[in-house]
Amino acid sequence: MRWTVGVPEALVGVAALVSWFMPARPRATRAVEVPATFGLVLLVAWIIELSYGSAVGTAFDGGFVQDRFALYAKSFLILAALLGLVLTDWEIAERPERETSLLLWACFGGLVAASAGDLMVLWAGCALAVVAAGAALGLHFRLVLTGAAALLLAALAFAFVYAFAGESDLAGIPAKLPEGVTSGSLVVAAIAGFVALGALLAGAGLVLRGAAAWPAESSLAAGPVTGLAAGAGAVALLRFAAAVIGSAAGWSPFLAAVAAILLLGGAAGALGARSIRGLVGWLTLAQTGWIVAGIAAHDRVAVAGALFLLGVFLVTYCGVSALLGEDVLDRLPALAGHGTRAPAAAVAIGLALLSLAGAPPLGGWFGEFAVAGALAQSGYFWLLFAGLGAGLLSLAAAVRVLVMMFLSEPAEGTVTVLNSLRVSAAVGLVVVIVGFALFASPLHTLALQGAEGLRLP
C-alpha cells in the first residue's frame, strides 16, 4: 500500500498537535488567521484523500485498513471538519487555537475509526473523538458521563465479540462467528455494541437540541466537534454491524425499533422546537433514524444508503451547527427576515434544514430514498411508513422556519454580520449541499463501493 494513503491522518493529527501548542495569536487577526491556516491543512488532506485514497490495502499488521468504505467515510469526515472550522464564529473565541485543536482531534478520531482494521483501533478512534467532544462541551457532567458509559459499553461489547470470534480483526470476525444466530449472548453483545455506538451517533442531535444549556466553558466549535464524534460513532457502527452480520436476524428487529423511535421522536420534536438549534438537533435525530434503519435492513444497498446519508449528515450538521454557533438568533421568531439581513447564511441554514428534513431533491432525500427502497425489499414496510410519516413532519417543521426567514418582515434585534471567510464558507456549504443532489449518482456509486468494502451480502 502506498504511504500516501496515511497522509491525511498524519496531516490532521499533526495539525491538531500544532494547534494545541500554538501560542495565542493577536486578537485582531486570529478570527481569520487560525481557521484559514488549519482550513488549508484540512483542504490539502481532503484533496490527498480523494487523490490517493482509492488505493486498497492494510498497514500496521492489519490495524489500518484502506478500503472504499474508509475512502468514503474519511472524505466526508475531513470535509465536515473543514466546513465546521471555517464556519465557526471565531471572533469571540478566547483561544481559537485550542478549540481548533479539539475539532481536529475529533476529526482524527473519526479517521482512525474509519480506517480501523480491528476492534481495538475502532474503539480507540471513537474514544478519541468522544474525549474531544467532551472537552469541547466544557466537560458538561451529564454528557461526559453518558459518553463514558457509551464507550465502556462499547468496550464490553467488543470484548465479548472478540471472545466469541477468537480474534479482533474486523475482516476475519464474520467467518469465525456462527451464521444465522437469532438469540443468545452473541446477539446481546451485538445489541450492546449498537446501543453504545448508536448513542454516540444520536448524541449529536440530542446535544444540539439542548444547546441552550451548554456550560459557559463550552467551545464555539462544540457543535461541529460533536458532529465529528457522532460521525466516528456512525463509522464504528457500520464497521461493527458488518463484523456481526451473522447474527443480523437477532439484532435487526431491535435496530428497526430504535430507528422508528428516532425517526418519529425526532420529527415530532422538530415540530415542537422553539429554537433553531433545537430544530436542527431534532431533525438530525430523525436523519439518524434513517441511518439506523439502513443498518437494520443490513444488506449492501441499505448500508450504501446509510453511508450516503452519513456523508450528508456529517457535512450538513457540522456546517449548520458551526454557522449557528452561539447565535443570538436562537429563538425562532428572531429569525424573521433573516433572508434579507444575511442572505448567504439564511440560504445555507434553509438548505441544511431541508436536507436534514429529507426534502427533494437534496442529498438527504436521495439517501432516504435509498434506505427506504432497501426497507421495502427487506419487508420492513412498517418502518418505511414510519419514515415517510417522519419525513412529512420534518418537512413541515423546516417549512415553518423557511417561511419565517424568507417570507416574514425582518425582526428587530441584533444582526449577525459574517466576516468574508464565513460568508465564503456559507456559500461553500450551499455548494456542498446542492452538490449532493447534482452528484447523487457518482456519490451513491461510491457509497455502494463502500458497502462492498464492508463485504456485506
Binding site: P360, A370, F385, G389, L407
Partner: protein, 540 residues
C-alpha cells in the same frame, strides 16, 4: 348505447388508431431534449430570478417579464411539439433515457405519450395564465415569480417523467414551492392555508412513495423505470395495496372528499395566479398518476378498486353540491363557494378513472385537461372578482354584472365550464366520462350526475346572487378587471373553448392545420393500454 355513443363521438375518437396525415407544419421545427427543457427551463430561470440582485425592489417589472417570457416560451415550444406529435402508435415520443442511479435502478427516463402530451399542454397554458394572473403581486416579487416558475418546473417534471423515482422526486419537490406560494402571498388566513396544503400534499407525496415501493418490492423489479415496473404483474394484493396508496395521492391532490381540506383554504386565500397554478395543473397530477401508474399499469387491482374509486367520486360530487348550496344559502364567501364547486371536476375525473373502459379512460384524459382549466377559471375569476370588489362576502357582492360586465361574464363562463356545458372541453370530458362509465359503474355514474345537478343549482344561484341580485346592506364598490386579468382569464377560456369546439383539430380538405386535435393526441397512444378494459361484446 353504443350507437348513441358512436354518433356523439364521431369525429372525436377514431375507431382504430391508424396513420393520419401529418398536420401542416409538422417537422418544420424539432426540439431536442424537449422534456428536459420543459422541466429545467423554468427551474433554471427560477434560479436566475432568485439570485439576481434587486436593490429597493427596482427590478420587479424585469422579474415579471422574465417569468412571462419564460412561460410564453414554454408554451410556444410545447405547441410546436404538440403539432408534431404522432397520433398513431403507442411508443413514447420525445424520449430521453440516461442511467442515473444504477445502484437503485433509477433511470432519468422522460417521454410523452398522448395522455402526457395532453396534460403537458394544460400545464403550459396554465403557466402563462398563472403569471398573468400574478401581475398585481407587489411584495417580494422576485421570490414570488421564482417559486412560481419552480413549481411549474416540478409539475412538468411529474408529467414527462417515465420513471417512478423521478416522478416521486418532482411530486415531492412541488410541495414546497406550492406551500410557500400560498403562505407568503394572499389573504389573511394564508399561513394556515399554506400549512394545510403542505400537510395534505405532503401526505399524498408520501403515499406515492409508499405505493411505488410496494410495487417495486412486490414485482421484485430491479428498476423504477415504468417500462419495467408496469410490465411486471405483481400479486393482486400488491396491486390493490399500491392502488389504495395511489388513491390517497389522487384524493389529496385532486382533491377529493374527505382529503379536500386544503382546497377550501388555499384556493380562497392564495393570489389568483397561484390558485390557477394549483387547481389548474398541479392538483391534476394526483389523477394523472393514478391513471398512468395504477389504471393503465395494474389492470386487476384497478378492477378490484373500481367501485371504491367510484364511491369516492360520488361522495365528492355530492359533497361539493350540497356544501356549495349551503354556503350560497348562508351568503358566505364567494371564493370559498368557487373552491367548493372546483371539487366537481376532480370527482368526474375519478369517476372516469373508475369507469375502466376505453371511452372512460379517454374521458379521464379529457377531464384532466378540461377539469383543470374549468376549475382554474371559476376559482380565479372568483378571486379576481373578490379583489376588484375588495370583499368576498356574497351579502355585499350582489349585482356586479352591471358594473363589471366583463368580469361577470367570465364568472359565468367559469361556472358553465365546471358544469360541462356544450362548447367547452369539459362538455366532451363529462360526456365521455358518463357514457364510458355507465356500464361498469352505473351507481357511481348516477351519483356523480346527481352531484352535477346539485352543483348546477349552486352555480345558478351564484350567478343570480353575484350578477343580478341587489346587495343586502352595504354595496360593494367593484371595478372592472384590468388588462392582465382579462388576458389571463381569456387564456383559460380560449383553451377550454378551442378544444370544446374542435376536439379533433381544425382541418382543411381533411388535412389537419397545425393542431392534430386534442382528442386524437389523447386517444392515440393510450389505446393499447386502454384496450385491456374493453368490454367484450356478447355474440348474437
Amino acid at each position: 348505447m353504443n350507437h348513441i355513443t358512436r354518433i356523439l363521438l364521431e369525429g372525436i375518437v377514431p375507431p382504430t388508431p391508424s396513420p393520419t396525415p401529418p398536420a401542416f407544419g409538422t417537422n418544420l421545427i424539432s426540439v431536442a431534449f424537449f422534456c428536459s427543457t420543459m422541466i429545467w427551463g423554468p427551474a433554471l430561470l427560477a434560479l436566475l430570478i432568485a439570485t439576481l440582485p434587486n436593490p429597493r425592489e427596482r427590478y420587479n417589472d424585469t422579474f415579471r417579464n422574465i417569468a412571462l417570457l419564460t412561460t410564453i416560451g414554454m408554451l410556444i415550444v410545447n405547441l410546436l411539439t404538440y403539432s408534431n406529435f404522432q397520433t398513431f402508435g403507442a411508443a413514447l415520443q420525445y424520449e430521453e433515457k440516461v442511467p442515473w442511479l444504477p445502484g437503485l435502478g433509477v433511470i432519468y427516463h422522460l417521454g410523452l405519450d398522448g395522455m402526457g402530451m395532453g396534460v403537458l399542454m394544460l400545464s403550459s397554458i396554465v403557466g402563462v395564465a398563472a403569471v398573468l394572473g400574478s401581475w398585481n403581486v407587489r411584495t417580494r416579487v422576485r421570490s414570488y415569480f421564482s417559486l412560481l416558475l419552480l413549481l411549474q418546473g416540478c409539475v412538468n417534471g411529474v408529467i414527462v417523467s417515465h420513471d417512478a423515482f423521478v416522478d416521486a422526486l418532482f411530486l415531492s419537490a412541488a410541495v414546497l414551492p406550492a406551500g410557500l406560494l400560498v403562505t407568503g402571498w394572499g389573504g389573511p388566513a394564508r399561513a394556515r392555508a399554506g400549512a394545510r396544503l403542505v400537510g395534505y400534499w405532503g401526505l399524498g407525496a408520501a403515499a406515492f412513495w409508499a405505493a411505488i415501493f410496494v410495487l417495486w418490492s412486490g414485482t421484485g423489479s430491479a428498476s423504477f423505470d415504468l417500462d419495467v415496473l408496469l410490465r411486471a404483474t405483481p400479486a393482486l394484493g400488491v396491486q390493490v395495496a399500491a392502488g389504495a396508496l395511489l388513491l390517497v395521492t389522487a384524493a389529496t391532490w385532486l382533491p377529493l372528499f374527505p382529503f379536500h381540506g386544503w382546497a377550501r383554504d388555499a384556493l380562497s386565500e392564495a393570489t389568483p395566479g397561484v390558485t390557477v397554478l394549483l387547481v389548474g395543473s398541479a392538483s391534476r397530477l394526483g389523477g394523472y398518476l393514478l391513471l398512468r401508474i395504477f389504471v393503465l399499469g395494474e389492470h386487476n387491482g384497478a378492477v378490484r378498486l373500481g367501485s371504491a374509486m367510484a364511491g369516492l367520486a360520488v361522495a365528492t360530487a355530492l359533497y361539493a353540491g350540497v356544501l356549495a348550496l349551503a354556503q350560497l344559502r348562508a351568503r358566505g364567501d364567494l371564493r370559498r363557494i368557487a373552491a367548493t364547486l372546483a371539487l366537481l371536476p376532480g370527482a368526474v375525473t375519478l369517476l372516469a378513472i373508475a369507469g375502466e373502459t376505453p371511452m372512460a379512460i379517454l374521458g379521464a384524459i379529457f377531464a384532466l385537461y378540461a377539469g383543470g382549466l374549468a376549475a382554474a377559471l371559476l376559482v380565479s375569476a372568483a378571486a379576481t372578482t373578490a379583489e376588484r370588489a375588495e370583499t368576498r362576502s356574497l351579502a355585499v357582492l350582489g349585482g356586479i354584472g352591471l358594473r363589471a360586465p366583463i368580469l361577470a361574464w367570465i364568472v359565468i363562463l367559469g361556472g358553465l365550464a365546471v358544469l360541462g356545458m356544450p362548447g367547452f372541453a369539459s362538455y366532451l370530458a363529462w360526456l365521455t366520462t358518463l357514457l364510458g362509465s355507465i356500464r361498469t359503474e352505473p351507481g357511481g355514474t348516477f351519483g356523480v350526475a346527481v352531484g352535477m345537478v346539485l352543483c348546477g343549482a349552486a352555480v345558478a344561484g351564484l350567478f343570480w346572487r353575484v350578477l343580478f341580485a341587489p346587495p343586502t346592506g352595504e354595496r360593494a364598490t367593484v371595478t372592472e378587471s384590468t388588462i392582465p386579468e382579462r388576458l389571463y382569464l381569456s387564456v383559460l377560456v380560449t383553451a377550454l373553448i378551442w378544444v370544446g369546439i374542435v376536439p379533433s383539430g381544425p382541418k382543411v380538405a381533411g388535412v389537419p392545420i397545425f393542431d392534430p386535435g386534442y382528442a386524437n393526441v389523447a386517444n392515440s397512444s393510450t389505446t393499447t393500454e386502454a384496450d385491456q378494459y374493453a368490454i367484450p361484446v356478447p355474440k348474437r
